[in-house]
Amino acid sequence: MKLKSLICGVLLMAAFPALAQTDEEKGYAIQAEANRRDNGYIDSMHDAVMTLKNAQGEVSTREFVVKTLEVADDGDKEMGIFHSPADVKGTAVLTFSHGTKPDDQWIYLPSLKRVKRVATVNKSGPFVGSEFAFEDISSWELDKYRYRYLRDEEIDGNDCFVVENYPVYEYSGYTKQIEWLDKKMYQPRKIEFYDRKGALLKTLTFSDYNQYLDRYWRAGKLQMDNVQNGKSTELLRKNYRFKNNFSDRDFTENALKNVR
């Protein structure tokens, strides 16, 4: 009798593997799938316009171009080149992001005509005064977080997995994020950021998704609202270009000086 029920149990578990999965495993599995689907694009480039708004309603914009080179088994290499405001035009930032270690970062300052290496563990401060932290927009790596699946939920008519992400990086500005991941695209629809004391700090909403190379989804608009101080930032990502034939040589200290 006992044996029979045991066999039944084993058979059942084999038939429905999901039943045996913990929420942590399921969360990881979902994000691993998201990671798998986004792999292999090799390089990309887009224009970005950031619009900052304070509680007073004052508005200010920053424009920059972002080039990305995919790196297997580590964070991507990324270069951002500022076009406006005028006084930072030509300033370029090169980042080798690493999942759980401090990034390597260099900045080219046209006013000094020099490249400065920046040594800091911080990725959590506001990026150019906006509501985005550098860690919010730098490349996403699977091992940056631990995960936990929460539930399925529909958001604006899109079926989503809701997953909690816990930052592994010691100097992250967050205790956790709650992410609504679109079941069709395996891309985020919304992320909530929780601060060090576990209170909701910001909400990031993704919209205007386009598919490139018949495979890779990219959001055209990211809206970050800080619920604590009433400030917000809109980030528009335009003119996505893939297959730029970028190589490691385009992402070096020397290359920084020659960008336009």
Partner: protein, 774 residues
């Protein structure tokens, strides 16, 4: 008419008692919704220009309500591994404070330094286990010359350190959010004290000030009102020598206060430190009505009238006076609605509402109670003989009284201009309040608590990286640092200088502002990108990067000195930065520095209106314009004399001063009305001569006036024991005004009356003479 009404009341006394008790319970049920306001902003109206300026600044940068925790080790300085370890842990714990958005301390200060072309941005104090004694010395040397740290987060002698937590309350239920923050921080401080008994831990900041406001209201509510009740009970028993009379008045007071406080809850008016006196003030006003009714009642009974008839007599005799007295009192309190500060409007409205409730209780419930309780009163003070003697004295020496009072008024009036307005808000709390002690300690040992903030920008919209702009800001900062009133100036120019040095391999020759706009902007971009969560510059620079905030911290100085300093700063800016756009100073300190002046300006119209209404009332009661207007005199001069004496003896006066005149005027007039109605009754109904009428008035109500005024004076004097200075000051001023007012009614009003009557008589006589001559 009135006897028919009182007859009906006497018959229905039990029904009335039950009905009123039911109504009071219903009204009193509102007490469950009672709230205590804590935000310091409550003192300012929504259209206060200084408040608007402050809110604009806070919307442009960030709101910066704060908690400042101050640590002092028993010996040595703060740069020891033990203390720095505590500081690191504390910084971490403070990040857990509810609604905190930023924690600044010596240990997490973002220290930027360079090695060739490598720029490092890190916590000033990193892993303490790795620090050598040389490292500690280096950190100490750096910290003590860093303008953004010294006199702000560390004292120049390195013995005291501060931890500043910026709190952003969502404002859904702000008062409870304040409590939450305070509770967390106090618990943290207690844990520290328990764990490290040698460590001195202090807490201050605007959140703690808000807490102190709420706590002082609650304390006043808990102590003053019961103390007042007790004192009145004893005084009544002493004066009336009647147990049941005392019970009647206590019952009236209790019901009036419960109904009023309950209605306040129903209406959603939150109590604040300045409106908390309302229930206590009300107690004294109930006493006035009740005592007038009771003394007349006992007088009739003692004269042999049967009690039920005596109730009718008492109401008939006092009805007119009570109507007018309560009316003028309500007018006086409603006048406070013209105050600039909402808490004083609340004080006026709550009390006015209470007086209306009291009026109805006096004419409905009190006769019922007098019929229910035995009439056992034998008022002890001042026999009729005594009052007659006093009346003779005043009549005989009336010229001396008039001249003496006139001289006193003129002499004392010169003291009024010696008063200077002062609202140093930390000193609102006396040293028995922890917030006051901790704040004083902080001001003495670490950094000031008063602050002026400037948002500086050029009028052509240039970005802050513009070298001309930065140079002028820096000159402004340097000018401010030379002013003796200033402990610290926080500005981005110091960061730009440090960055310029960092970008030139930390060569100290480059510790100066960057030469071009591009350099400034690009250095800033690099630095901002390297800052951690919460320690950004968004509280210093606006989103357009076109304006920057300069915060000036001051020693504990008076409001007048703050205004002087700000005026000097404006003059400096006008000369040295003519191309700057918006640059008026703002902040809590300036808000309070302006409030006294604004309150007085706002009260003047209200006060004039009240004076006109009260004068018209007097004219209506007395049916005589001259008499009505002249009766204002004994009610106006007490304020003049008292503010004069205050100017000579104290000299500093806060925002409460403006409402005192309006508040006392309405109450002072009561005694005059009571006296004059008796006087007129004697003149017109009894046909007595002026001298005899004065004597009659004194003998009829001298006692009641004396008792009610004495209780009134006690009632307001009790605020002198409040730990809240605005209430203390109000208590002392009103007490003095009532005392002088009583004196004026006794020794000035009769001579004035006699003087007018004499004048009328001689005028009549001379017109007769003229007629004869024709």
């Amino acid at each position: 008419m009135i006897h028919r009404y009182t007859g009906w009341v006497v018959n229905a006394r039990w029904y009335i008692l039950i009905l009123i008790a039911g109504l009071v319970v219903m009204a009193g049920y509102g007490i469950k919704d009672l709230q205590f306001k804590s935000d310091y902003r409550m003192f300012f109206s929504d259209d206060n220009p200084q408040l608007t300026a402050l809110e604009n600044l806070q919307k442009t940068y960030t709101r910066d309500d704060n908690v400042l925790l101050v640590l002092t080790p028993a010996k040595g300085d703060v740069f020891s591994p033990e203390i720095l370890t505590i500081a690191q842990q504390l910084t971490k714990d403070l990040w857990q404070t509810p609604y905190s958005t930023r924690v600044d301390s010596l240990v997490n200060f973002q220290y930027s330094h360079a090695n060739g072309d490598e720029v490092t941005v890190e916590d000033l104090v990193g892993d303490i286990t790795q620090l050598t004694p040389e490292d500690l010395t280096r950190i100490k040397l750096y910290a003590l010359q860093e303008p953004l740290l010294v006199n702000r987060l560390v004292s120049p002698n390195a013995k005291v350190m501060g931890f500043n937590v910026v709190i952003l309350r969502p404002g859904i239920n702000q008062d409870s959010e304040t409590v939450e923050v305070t509770r967390y921080v106090r618990k943290l401080a207690d844990t520290l004290r328990a764990e490290y008994p040698d460590l001195d831990v202090r807490i201050t900041g605007s959140i703690l000030m808000d807490t102190a406001f709420a706590e002082s209201s609650e304390l006043d509510m808990r102590t003053l009102t019961p103390a007042m009740l007790t004192i009145i009970a004893v005084a009544l028993w002493f004066f009336l020598r009647s147990f049941w009379g005392m019970v009647t008045v206590l019952l009236m007071m209790t019901l009036a206060v419960i109904a009023t406080v309950g209605m306040t809850g129903w209406l959603g008016i939150a109590f604040s430190p300045s409106s908390i006196p309302a229930p206590t003030i009300l107690l004294t006003l109930v006493v006035a009505n009740s005592v007038h009714l009771l003394t007349s009642f006992y007088k009739s009974v003692n004269d042999g009238v049967n009690p039920h008839e005596a109730i009718g007599n008492s109401i008939a005799k006092n009805f007119k006076a009570i109507v007018f007295c309560n009316f003028t009192t309500v007018i006086g309190f409603l006048t406070m609605n013209s105050s600039e500060s909402p808490p004083f409007r609340d004080l006026g409205n709550i009390t006015a509402m209470g007086v209306v409730i009291t009026f109805f209780l006096s004419i409905v419930l009190q006769p019922a109670l007098m019929a229910i309780f035995p009439a056992d009163g034998r008022p002890r003070w001042g026999s009729n003989e005594g009052w007659k003697k006093f009346a003779h004295f005043v009549i005989n020496y009336r010229h001396y009284c008039l001249i003496g009072m006139t001289i006193a008024v003129i002499a004392l009036a010169t003291g009024i201009r010696l008063n200077t307005l002062d609202d140093e808000y930390v000193k609102y709390f006396d040293p028995s309040v922890e917030f006051r002690r901790d704040t004083d300690y902080t001001s003495d040992h670490l950094t000031g608590i008063y602050r002026i903030d400037y948002s500086l920008e050029k009028n052509n919209g240039d970005r802050i990286s513009d070298p001309d702009f930065l140079q002028r800001v820096d000159a402004f900062v340097q000018w401010y640092r030379q002013q003796p009133e200033v402990t610290h100036v926080f500005a981005v120019t110091d960061i730009f200088k440090r960055l310029n040095q960092n970008m030139h391999s930390d060569d100290s020759a480059w510790y100066r502002l960057p030469e071009t706009a591009e350099m400034s902007a690009q250095f800033l971009l690099l630095y901002e990108m390297s800052l951690p969560y919460g320690l950004d510059l968004n509280d210093r620079i606006n989103v357009n990067k076109s304006a920057t905030r300069v915060s000036v911290t001051l020693h504990s100085i008076s409001s007048q000195q703050v205004l002087d300093l700000e005026a000097r700063a404006q003059a400096w800016l006008k000369v040295n930065a003519p191309n700057f756009a918006r640059h008026e100073g703002t902040g809590i300190t300036l808000l309070f520095a302006h409030i006294g002046q604004r309150n007085i300006a706002s009260m003047i119209n209200g006060l004039l209106l009240a004076a006109v209404i009260i004068a018209l009332t007097l004219i209506a009661v007395l049916r005589s314009a001259t008499l009505g207007l002249l009766s204002l005199v004994p009610n106006v001069i007490p304020s003049i004399m008292v503010f004069g004496v205050w100017g000579m003896l104290v000299g500093q006066i806060g925002m409460a001063s403006s409402v005192v005149v309006a508040m006392t005027l309405g109450i002072l007039v009561d005694d005059t009305v009571h006296f004059l109605t008796q006087y007129q009754y004697a003149r017109n109904q009894k046909g007595l001569l002026p001298e005899a009428a004065v004597e009659y008035a004194f003998s009829q109500i001298g006692n009641a006036l004396w008792v009610t005024s004495f209780i009134l004076i006690l009632g307001f004097a009790i605020f002198a024991i409040s730990s809240f200075k605005i209430n203390q000051e109000m208590g002392m001023l009103t007490t003095l005004i009532f005392a002088v007012g009583l004196l004026a009614d006794f020794v000035l009003l009769p001579p004035i009356l006699l003087f007018i009557e004499g004048f009328k008589k001689s005028a009549k006589a001379s017109s007769l003479v003229e007629k004869k001559a024709v």
